[in-house]
Amino acid sequence: MDILVQLIVNGIMLGSMYAIISVGLTLIFGIVRVVNFAHGELLMVGMYATYLLGAKLGLHPYLAAFPVVVLLFVVGALIQRFMIQPLLKAEEHIQIFATVGLSTALVNLALLLFGADLYSLQVPSVRESLRLGGSTLLVGQAAMLLCAVALIGGLHVFMHTTPLGRAVRATAQNRNAALLMGVPVERIYIFAFGLGSACVGLASALIMPLIPVTPTIGSYFVLTAFVVVVLGGMRSLTGAFVGAMIIGIVDSLSGYYIAPDLKEVVYFAIFIAILVFKPTGLFGLGRGTE
């Protein structure tokens, strides 16, 4: 029983990591309607940035989060402006190739700059264990859960109360109508991509003290993030959060009860099943089919 509780606590912690990574992907897909295959590489860029700020300037990763979020916002906005924007009207396969190409280029750029070594930040305070009943979790994991909840809540408030947020929602719901209403759709897209990318920046600063960074770290997380987003119904932040929790717990339980090397098989199988049988996501919020 203790073990089951520990596994579920562990799953929730993994889930909060997946959630915070998936928020950005959901935003970008929900608003710009582009499936960003380079999402994981944005995380990788953020993690290297956090690492450099920590290792060279001695900045605590939670403080480094601020400059990293700004950096990732700029990176995202530039990607939208110079790569996605010109392709918005292109055929879908061209968009896919473009983001796949970006992903390949960024992975190899990191390999060029940093080599294949692991870089990790030693921040003992973040790795401190917290006892919770009979279970253990890390300070850094608890922080991630809080940040994920706060981020999703904050984004919700932003989208529903500010004029900019309303414009973003209008654009997401109906691009042409928004255009007619005088919403500068292209600039909203740039902002939205930047915002989604900035969320990844926050995620990377939170993850860096827990997991070492390598050039290929993104490809590990990106598929999981896609699973989460599809599970959550593609466009819903709350859906993504719940999806992330489900995948986290499945990850943890199947690692113990099935086999540690088959846990990815388990959630990829869930992913395929959801895509095939319920493409609107678990809660019927999105659409994977036309």
């Binding site: 520990q6 596994l7 390999l111 294949a116 264990s129 990850d251 540690p260 846990k263």
Partner: protein
């Protein structure tokens, strides 16, 4: 030299077209001897591939400074193998375009397996200095030779250590210890773990868990919990750096303390791993690997000399023991080439099989004596232990710097 090239060309099936090119080969008779160096110089394995190559480079410079082989200098042609397809391509290029006399390689077993399928058909000797997969020398090839220990050597040493080192240190019966095998699921982990299972059965030890996992995993808690609930006393782990660090951290977080953890080189050998885990938590972790630098020089003549040369050439301390092992192997094979009657493959094979160096006579502390399959039978890996933040050789006694400590983690 010309007759060699002609033979190689015939074997390659391109005799007709090669004829006009033989002019340059004739020149080569007095010129340098070309040898290939096939390593992963780019891609994910680049770091250790390059570290391995440095050992070869130093051995060849040493040999050239001493007058080369048969009075001719040696010229290295590098081949970059990132994946098996490229290993095949580069092996083709080295054997047909560069017309090398032999090839040194490869660090990675899958690259070696792919490349040697080419060189064997081309009848070019292939000197493997670092890849551990057993089948490399089990395919009945005539022109593959390997100096280093194999996966089964690693696995046997790890399992034997339970009987020979761990149980005596704790003063218990080895059969009373519960053994758990965990390993990352790429070629390295799967191969070593396979031989471990076999050896555990041979010795009649009590194996209670075998858990493969992906080295890219970000969470090994399920693995730790499985070991914990099975009450495993001795963990045999075959792992890279990331998963080693993760395992030690999560063992501590979950309050799991086995009596011993034995690694198969990889992540256990790296100073970075110890620093990431913390010296006090890594204290007592055992490790089976190729010879490392903290080895008694009395059992490994030339090791200090090598470190000095490495420092001078690259202006840094060696990044891992790979360079040392590759250096040792390259020295053995260059000596054999010097001793060979000529530089044809058959003569080189004859010379390599004639090599007979006792254990403790090389820079790695190994001996050299090759069986018909080309495998060095005097290359056993050593057992080491992290003690006070240093990886110290503890077994066998001839190379040991300190006795085994019965402890894992001090926290």
């Amino acid at each position: 030299m010309e007759s060699l090239t002609r033979r190689g060309a015939l074997a390659g099936g391109v005799a007709l077209a090669a004829a006009p090119l033989l002019g340059s080969a004739a020149l080569a008779q007095s010129g340098p001897i070309k040898v290939g160096a096939l390593f992963p110089f780019s891609g994910g394995l680049a770091l250790l591939g390059d570290e391995s190559y440095r050992g070869v480079e130093i051995a060849i410079e040493e040999r050239n400074a001493a007058g080369g082989v048969k009075g001719r200098p040696i010229q290295v042609v590098r081949g970059d193998a990132v994946d098996p397809n490229q290993a095949v391509g580069e092996a083709r290029r080295l054997t047909s375009v560069e017309r090398v006399t032999c090839i040194f390689g490869t660090f990675s077993s899958s690259l070696c397996l792919a490349a040697t399928q080419v060189t064997e058909l081309a009848q070019i000797p292939y000197f493997e200095l670092g890849a551990i997969s057993d089948p490399i020398t089990e395919r009945g090839f005539r022109y593959i030779f390997r100096t280093n220990a194999t996966a089964s050597g690693f696995a046997n040493m790890m399992v034997d250590s339970i009987r020979d080192a761990v149980a005596p240190a704790y003063k218990v019966d080895p059969k009373s210890l519960k053994v758990g095998i965990i390993h990352e699921d790429s070629l390295y982990g799967q191969t070593v773990a396979g031989y471990q299972k076999k050896r555990v059965q041979e010795l009649g030890l009590n194996l209670v868990e075998t858990l493969p996992y992906s080295a890219r995993s970000v969470d090994l808690t399920p693995v730790v919990l499985r070991l914990k609930s099975a009450g495993v006393d001795v963990v045999l782990q075959t792992s890279y750096q990331n998963d080693t660090v993760l395992f030690f951290r999560q063992m501590r977080e979950q309050g799991y303390r086995p009596r011993a953890a034995i690694g198969a080189g990889g992540g256990y050998s790296l100073r970075d791993t110890m620093e990431a885990v913390g010296a006090q938590h890594m204290e007592g972790a055992l490790n089976v690997d190729f010879t490392q630098f903290r080895t008694n020089p009395a059992g490994a003549p030339g090791i200090e000399e090598f470190v000095r040369k490495y420092q001078a050439k690259y202006n840094m301390a060696p990044r891992s023991g790979h360079s040392l092992c590759n250096y040792m192997g390259a020295v053995v094979f260059l000596d054999a080439m010097q001793a060979a009657s000529d530089l044809r493959a058959a003569a080189i094979r004859e010379a390599v099989l004639a090599v007979d160096k006792p254990v403790g006579s090389t820079a790695t502390g190994w001996g050299a004596k090759f069986n018909q399959a080309g495998q060095n039978e005097r290359a056993d890996p050593f057992l080491m232990q992290w003690q006070g933040g240093e990886l110290v050789t503890v077994f066998p006694a001839s190379a040991a710097m300190a006795p085994v400590k019965p402890v894992l983690g001090t926290a």
